[in-house]
């Protein structure tokens, strides 16, 4: 199978059985790989109603047909499981070098099932695959675990690990790789922790075959050349994702004090330019990436090194908790990485608690004396530790803001900023209707990466509620997640503006199967609709209301900044949903119609 290793590794943690299975070419054809293989496997192999933290849940780490090849940014791996945070579909993407290494070892994916009686790690060295004792690693941080395993096994092994957050089943625990890259969202690290799998270590020496080497080589040259000649390359290389921090602050999109407003009075302290000069020491790229967004930093103030902070962490653990010093944000980032929790959800949970504290819903008695006010860096650091270790108030916040608000009551659901139970990532959406719709309808919950539409809002008028905006969101929801099925990064297209249709001939050169760009988008739509069906299958009563935005943006106007006094009324949100469902071929409750499913070859899934 050109472009693929051709083998899937199935590891049963309960029995210790390890099986190597052939990759079904029909599944590769219809779902490509990555998140496509993920949802296909989740749908067929994990029974409806499975407890996400039970041995019956499966964690699928999947590469794509571009992973590990000479294609710009071909270093993405998808992790799919049933989410312990939302109870629905989770798919988290990680960069770095793991995905390439797994394919070089001869595997397109690892399906992890069952739960080990004792802590173990998965050792993969080409054909040699073993579960090894990890008792001595249990309790250690993610970064420490990676360093320990590399010293033990060799620098050329790639490591993915969980920290105490994953071990303690924090609902948004992440999986860390390459000293600071995360499969961050939806609690994939908690599922790994429930399986008592501390880490995966992989090394490979094999070649990934391509169907037409001459055509592949020519296209590889063209794509890298386009990246290198892109106008935006130097600035992106220098600042990475932090290039947007100043822009967001200026236009009122930078979440501040639990999304109460979109501009932060100390924002300039957090801008990419300041960070670059103050703490960045090395540009750190993922596999085959000409435009590394990874910035490796050294905080002298806190005596730590950390990858990042990147934009999302700056937004959620900077302005959203009102930290005014980039070195404090870097330290909070480091704590999340080492302890193994998602910095986006953690920043939300702490901001939510800070607002509860300032409104008197939480008192010093609830916080064990911690002065949990916005802007308190020491309190932020302490809360990250408590969440990861489930101590005191941290135990409640480890459940996510939706569950925490449910327990606390007293109106706190009004400022729990999430969709479907997933905390919203780094864009304030009081008045940015396309981005709001993107959050409402993203298939994992309120995450930006499925459709980054905020710039489009600014371009066409932020309060516009039009079919064009809806169509834009849907198009982005097909293009961007397609990259998560292909196993490569979208940012060469998003940030460098390279011609996205080039990926079709490139994939054809690799696999030997000719498909147009439109045909690939159709596959992406198939995957999108299957994830939607999964929500309906798993979540009782799932439907339209689950797509509603956080009340913060529909009922409580922004308190300051460029969007001060603005909001998106619920009627506008409903209108967005009406248009969205109609354009998608879904009914008024958001369920894909039989006609749409048949069109996508999903007739048997209804």
């Amino acid at each position: 199978m050109n472009g693929y290793a051709g083998t899937i590794l199935r590891v049963n943690l309960t029995t210790g059985e390890i099986r190597k299975e052939p990759y079904d070419p029909a599944v590769a054809r219809d779902f490509l790989g990555g998140r496509g293989l993920g949802i296909y496997t989740l749908w067929h192999e994990v029974p409806a109603g499975t407890d996400p933290l039970s041995p019956q849940n499966k964690l699928i780490a999947s590469t794509g047909p571009l992973s590990g090849l000479l294609v710009p940014g071909a270093g993405k791996m998808d992790w799919t499981c049933k989410s312990p945070l939302t109870g629905g579909y989770a798919s988290a993407s990680v960069g770095g070098h793991l995905t390439a290494e797994l394919k070089y070892a001869g595997y397109d994916a690892v399906i992890l099932e069952g739960a080990s009686p004792r802590p173990v790690y998965l050792y993969i060295d080409d054909d040699r695959v073993e579960l090894r004792d990890a008792s001595d690693l249990w309790g250690r941080g993610s970064l420490t675990t990676e360093e320990t395993l590399k010293k033990r096994l060799g620098e050329d092994f790639q490591i993915a690990s969980i920290g105490p957050g994953g071990e303690n089943l924090v609902k948004y625990a992440c999986i860390t790789h390459d000293y600071g890259r995360q499969a961050g969202r939806g609690g994939v690290g908690a599922v790994m922790g429930a399986k008592r799998l501390k880490a995966i270590a992989v090394r490979g020496h094999k070649t990934i075959p391509v169907a037409d080497p001459a055509r592949f080589w020519e296209l590889a040259h063209a794509m890298f050349r386009a990246c290198k000649e892109a106008e935006g390359l130097p600035a992106w290389q220098r600042y990475g994702t932090t290039i947007v921090t100043s822009w967001c602050d200026e236009v009122g999109a930078l979440p501040t004090r639990n999304f109460q407003q979109g501009s932060f009075e100390h924002g300039p302290n957090l801008y990419g330019q300041v960070m670059r000069e103050k703490i960045v020491i090395t540009d750190k790229g993922c596999f085959a990436c000409p435009s590394p967004c990874g910035k490796y930093s050294h905080s002298r103030k806190h005596g730590i090194r950390v990858e990042g902070p990147e934009y999302e962490t700056i937004a959620l653990l900077g302005s959203n908790v009102a930290l005014a010093d980039i070195e404090d944000v870097a330290y909070a980032n480091y704590l999340c990485d080492e302890l193994g929790i998602d910095s986006i959800s953690a920043g939300n949970a702490i901001a939510f608690a800070m607002e509860c504290f300032e409104r008197g819903v939480l008192t010093p008695r609830d916080t064990d004396g911690l002065d949990l006010r916005f802007g308190n860096a020491e309190a932020t650091f302490a809360m990250i530790e408590r969440i990861a270790r489930r101590e005191g108030l941290g135990d409640l916040l480890a459940e996510g803001v939706k569950a925490a608000a449910g327990r606390l009551g007293q109106g706190s659901a009004e400022w729990a900023v999430h969709v479907k139970g997933m905390e919203q990532s780094g864009y304030e959406t009081h008045n940015a209707t396309a981005m709001l719709l993107a959050y409402m309808t993203a298939d994992v919950g309120a995450h930006h990466n499925r459709a980054w539409a905020i710039t489009y809002d600014l371009q066409v008028g932020r309060d516009q509620v039009t079919p064009e905006k809806v169509a834009r969101v849907i198009l982005l929801q097909h293009i961007r997640p397609l990259f998560d099925a292909l196993g490569s990064c979208r940012l060469q297209w998003v940030e460098l503006g390279i011609d996205v249709t080039q990926y079709a001939p490139m994939l054809a050169a690799i696999t030997g199967i000719e498909r147009s760009w439109e045909e690939l988008l159709k596959i992406s739509e198939r995957i999108w609709n299957l994830t939607r069906l999964y929500w309906f299958r798993e979540v009782p009563g799932f439907g339209r209301e689950w797509d509603y935005p956080a009340p913060r943006f529909t009922r409580h106007p922004a308190t300051g900044g460029p969007t001060q006094g603005q909001l998106t009324p619920m009627e506008a949100a409903q209108k967005l949903l009406d248009m969205y469902y109609e354009q998608r071929g879904w009914d008024a409750n958001g369920r894909p119609t039989a006609g749409k499913l048949a069109e996508l070859g999903l007739g048997g899934y209804a």
Binding site: W217, T282, A288
Partner: protein
């Protein structure tokens, strides 16, 4: 002529390794490349790029004179003459002569320049 590397610019992406391997063997395989990236993480937190400096040590130690220079001045291992004793591999001060599984003669940089073409960070260059 030789290949130069400015390690301070390297982001560790390995595109150069892939380009080297594909250009010589038509294979996507980072372990069939004639240069190396050594990451130093978590501390100090940088990448070290090792490339052939065309120092000629390999040619000096070769017992059968199987390492002549090509038209660009690059030393190369003639597989017809090589007896696979690996003396050059051991002698290379940069550690960038590589044994390729299933191939008798080791392999070293021939200054083809493809690594330079694919490096997005301008780490690599070929000059006198």
């Amino acid at each position: 002529m030789r290949l130069y590397a400015d390690s301070s610019r390297c982001s560790g992406c390995k595109a150069c390794l892939l380009a080297c391997a594909f250009s010589h063997f038509q294979e996507n395989n980072i372990r069939k490349a004639a240069l190396a990236i050594i990451p130093h993480f978590p501390s100090p937190g940088n990448y070290e790029v090792r490339v052939c400096t065309q120092c000629g040590e390999c040619a000096k130690v070769c017992p059968v004179d199987a390492i002549p220079q090509n038209e660009k001045g690059a030393y190369y291992i003639d597989p017809e003459l090589c007896i696979a004793c690996d003396a050059c591999v051991d002698a290379c001060p940069e550690g960038v002569i590589f044994k390729i599984p299933g191939r008798e003669a080791p392999f070293e940089c021939d200054l083809c320049g493809e690594c330079v073409n694919f490096c997005g960070m301008n780490v690599l260059s070929i000059a006198e």
